[in-house]
Amino acid sequence: MNPFRLLTEKPWLSTPQTVGGMTVEVSQASLVPPQKVALRVFLGVVGVLFGLFFTAYFIRMGLADWRPMPEPQQLWFNTLLLFLGSITLQWTSHVVRRGETGLVKIGLLLGAIFTFGFVFGQVSVWQQMTAEGYYLSSNPANSFFYVLTGLHALHILGGLWVWTRASVRVMAGAKPEVVRLSVGLCATYWHFLLLVWLAVFALISYT
């Protein structure tokens, strides 16, 4: 949908069409599943949320008491896990379309293992940090680190909820097309959160 086209539209000039025996003009409401549209809008909202945090980060960074923070090496490993999770879900959404129930189950399971791996990895990074004396309020870079990674992990857990519902259905023997939409949505969401994570990671490294 091109917003400019929409705003310059002249419905009274368009040619009417026949629908179910009646002549009406098109309503342009498309048949994309509403869940997809809602997800896109939601990703916009989450994007703005993190974008504002990033802006705050840059501004705060310019102030006098900012001290750089060590970057735990384990974050690289966690990134790899999330990346694999994202890929697996993409692959799952592919095999769902081909209707291969067995592969779908494997895909969902693997995706969850990688994703939980990522979340536990993050938790263990937090433990390392606190063990070394870098607490939430020790310095502003740390504060941002905990807040950003925490919020990001919460969003991942939110996605896992949709994943769980889809998996429960598949395990209970539902046909793959039933979960096709949810798996596709999960894949999109995971890619998005991977992007957000890469941005967060870049920011943390850039102290």
Binding site: K10, V48, L136, S143
Partner: protein, 595 residues
């Protein structure tokens, strides 16, 4: 492009809920949710109204009321402001009218995600309860001002910082934002995808346009409030220093290091200014429909109105720092924001002209909703003009934080949207309840409110010129505030109490008319938009009976020459329009006449 509309015609809503609980409590019907939102919002609004009466009593008659001390006063100011802006206006326009009107005006059976919609209401209720709980905790609610500026918002000495007051406020805001996001995703998706046959975007009533664009603004502006509330909560609870600078307070050096209070101001107003339009755009939309219906004329310049709504929505994100002229910013920065602020006046003025031109040569019916809608035009022009004063840096500097500002924002975002709310409630009341309200009471309510609010706010401009500061418990004796100003304050208070009491008429009217009102019929105002064409009034679950309506034209076909009824509903096929004898064939005026 296919035109078939299965998404609007969801079959699952066709199963009527049976028990009382599923019908009225855990309801997923957009109309019930709308009423739940509306009722809750009006309820908290009344609390905010009582708070304003208390403030006025103190200001009008200082040293008289022992139950108001300086701490209470600033707590009242804060809770009054926050409740009015967020929990009343935002919730009532979007949660209330958005929920009621979007599916009905677009010809859908319900919102696309009814369950999420229900959740949205219960989260909203939760946020309200958390907010109200702060009245009952030790130390009472926060007294940080509705802008919640740090550092004072969370430093000892400000009311609500010894107890959980400020924490409850911040948590309540976070919950509210989650509630809104659930609702907002619904509104946007429904508008984009659940329109019925023939309902193109450029045929939607302006109410839906206003609510739609306001929802998009809110979805992208509330994150800024979310971010600032969350970081402030951490500053308060866990000792981080996002916003808190290093400082000594009450003789103690605080644990905070060099955070930036200005950063908070930027984030807050990046939300705060769009918030003004989150409230204003739905009001613009609703009032356009009310004016057009009761003037029996098509809205003047429909497409221009849509563009103006979109343009205002876009511009509202780049003017926020006009609230921060006194924060010590770079003068070039101030110049930029003054410039954008004045630009936004252009689409706004276009809208005002178009409303006036809609009335011009109309066949005006002075109904109660029409009175309120016309009252809105007055108060909005008034508040808009003082906004141009305050948008200019050099004029704003001396007026900042005075009663001139209080007068300005009450006119533009207090009284004006409330006028529209009343217009809209009276206008749609017959559809929502099936009953007609008492017209005489409605007219008394209008004149009391309209004239009364002028009696309150007009003198405040003058107080502002004198330099009377806002958020002050008492003025004491100063040279620049003459005794006459004190007398004026007493008069303002009398007017405020009068206006407040007259709102009881409204409450009485809407409640008693439920029982005693005359049956209104399906389309008492002879409106053309779809919600007035439902098979049942009030509309039943699923709205449309077995078949969705089909739309043939725009929502403003009033006063059509030659047509017998002087209006043509959106869903009447051209061949079925009844003409006056000898008037010839019906020509859809949409053709070319309203570009």
């Amino acid at each position: 492009m296919t035109s078939y509309v299965p998404i609007a015609d969801q079959s699952h809503v066709m199963h009527d809920p049976h028990t009382f609980i599923t019908k009225y409590v855990w309801s997923q019907d957009h109309k019930v949710i709308a009423i739940q939102y509306g009722g809750t919002a009006i309820f908290v609004g009344l609390i905010a109204l009582v708070l304003s009466a208390m403030m006025r009593l103190q200001l009008g008659y200082p040293d008289t009321f022992s139950f108001i001390d300086p701490a209470n006063y600033i707590q009242f100011v804060t809770m009054h402001g926050m409740i009015m802006v967020i929990y009343l206006l935002t919730a009532l326009f979007l949660g209330g009218f958005g929920n009621y009107l979007i599916p009905l005006q677009l010809g859908a059976r319900d919102m696309v995600f009814p369950y999420l919609n229900m959740l949205s209401y219960w989260f909203y209720l939760l946020s309200v309860l958390i907010l109200l709980a702060s009245f009952f905790v030790t130390g009472g609610p926060t007294g940080a001002g509705w802008t919640l500026y740090p550092p004072q918002a969370i430093l000892r000495g400000t009311p609500g910082t010894d107890g959980p007051g400020i924490i409850l406020m911040l948590v309540s805001l976070l919950v509210f934002i989650m509630a809104f996001t659930m609702g907002g995703l619904n509104y946007v998706t429904t508008v984009l995808q659940a329109r019925t046959h023939g309902m193109t975007l450029m045929r939607m009533p302006l109410s839906v346009w206003g609510i739609f664009v306001a929802t998009i603004l809110a979805l992208f502006a509330f994150p800024a409030l979310f971010v600032s509330a969350l970081m402030m909560l951490l500053d308060k609870l866990l000792g981080t220093s996002f916003f808190m600078p290093a400082l000594a307070s009450l003789g103690q050096v605080s644990e905070h290091t060099g955070g930036s209070p200005i950063l908070f101001q930027h984030l807050f107003w990046f939300f705060g200014h769009p918030e003004v339009y989150i409230v204003a755009l739905p009001a613009f939309g609703l009032v356009s429909d009310v004016l057009s219906t009761h003037a029996r004329k098509n809205i003047f310049g429909y497409r221009m109105m849509v563009w103006a709504i979109v343009a205002i929505g876009g511009l509202s994100f780049i003017v926020w720092a006009h609230h921060m002229y006194v924060s010590g910013m770079n003068p070039y920065f101030g110049f930029f924001f003054a410039f954008t602020t004045l630009i936004i006046a252009i689409p706004t003025a276009i809208k005002v002209y178009n409303w006036v031109l809609t009335l011009w040569h109309g066949n005006i019916r002075m109904t109660v909703p029409m009175l309120f809608a016309m009252g809105f035009i007055f108060t909005f022009i008034h508040g808009g003009l003082t906004g141009i004063f305050l948008g200019n840096v050099t004029v704003d500097l001396p007026l900042s934080d005075t009663y001139f500002v209080v007068a300005h924002f009450h006119m533009v975002m207090g009284v004006s949207p409330v006028m529209v709310l009343f217009a809209a409630i009276y206008h749609w009341y017959p559809k929502i309840t099936g009953k007609m309200f008492n017209v005489t009471l409605g007219k008394i309510h209008f004149w009391a409110t309209f004239l009364g609010t002028y009696a309150i706010y007009l003198p405040m401009h003058y107080l502002g010129f004198l330099g009377v500061p806002r958020r002050y418990f008492a003025l004491g004796s100063t040279d620049f505030i003459p005794d006459s100003a004190m007398a004026l304050n007493a008069n303002i208070t009398q007017a405020a109490i009068f206006v407040g009491v007259m709102q009881l008429l409204f409450i009485y009217n809407i409640i008693s008319s439920l029982r005693n009102g005359a049956p209104a019929g399906g389309n008492p105002w002879e409106s053309v938009s779809l919600e007035w064409q439902t098979p049942d009034t009030p509309p039943r679950h699923g709205n449309w009976g077995d078949k969705l309506p089909v739309v043939y034209r725009w929502a403003y076909e009033y006063g059509v020459p030659g047509v017998k009824d002087d209006f043509v509903p959106q869903n009447v096929p051209p061949e079925e329009v009844v003409m006056e004898p000898g008037a010839g064939k019906y020509v859809d005026r949409s053709e070319g006449h309203y570009s």
